[in-house]
Symmetry: none
Subunit: 156 residues, 2 copies
Amino acid sequence: MDRFLSSATNKIDTKGRVSVPAHFRSVLQKRGFVELYALRALDVQAMDVGGPDLLDRYEQRIALEDPFLQAADDMSFFVHGDGSFLKLDQDGRITITDFIREHTGIGAEVAFVGRGLFFQMWEPERLKAHAGAVRSRLLKLRQQASEARAAALPES
Amino acid sequence: MDRFLSSATNKIDTKGRVSVPAHFRSVLQKRGFVELYALRALDVQAMDVGGPDLLDRYEQRIALEDPFLQAADDMSFFVHGDGSFLKLDQDGRITITDFIREHTGIGAEVAFVGRGLFFQMWEPERLKAHAGAVRSRLLKLRQQASEARAAALPES
DNA sequence: TATTGTCCCATGCTATCCCATGAACACGTC
DNA sequence: GACGTGTTCATGGGATAGCATGGGACAATA
């Protein structure tokens, strides 16, 4: 399978290195990514990590904004300014830079989360909080959908 | 028969492995699945397990959303971050990872429940509690229906 | 000279392969 | 009907390969 799936939490060692989960590495290889880009996620405290296509995706997003408005400029500044390359060493580890720590709050451990075409790196506790919020939003969505269907029916 | 039907509880061995019920395995084989896709269910503490087609269905659903809105992001976070592939070993067993234990509370045994096109894995006690809740909900529904019918009739 | 980043190797844990055991069950023969 | 035989299946365990992690050595940098 060639999608980033599942999640795992790995430790950062004394030198600031952390192993990228083996499954993610095999996806990277399968997709032919040599260079890894780490970008700040726009609305959460996490890093989005992926290949060159991730940059394209971000640029598409930014292009949606009116180029005369400040938002587009801010986004570009935010994303490109604090983006970075990550190099995998021979053992499949990356070094967590201060850039990454600042934006994510990552300290001793990194939580990796598959997102299909890319993956994310989180501070584990923040990930847990975010996951809870996502679940409650999705549950609400589901309830709204079933209520809408019930209302559409002539009668219960 | 190519549907997941009935339920069974199997033991997890000292290495964290558990046999997938033979009947389920034959369904999987009939459908040509080598890998399993397991998702931490949204509203219950169980894993929904099916073939990779389950993931495909979710991804098609996500594709309907505007990729830059929160809904799409939430859905992807859930489907990819809370999903994982499981491999059947040669003896038809899977290993219960912490990823699964965390969400389900599974400890020493796994209760498998057929759900037609997919099946679920539960912690046995929780399954029992859930089954009880489902039954009483259904009973209430039925009572309400018959009361409504009685009220609609002119009366005896 | 200190520091930082690679490379390389060691270690222990975990997942996987392969084989063994024993229980439940079906089938056929006496 | 009773008994043996074979099959299927859940379960256990030894051996091994893969993986996360720790640390030494060395080069590049400042």
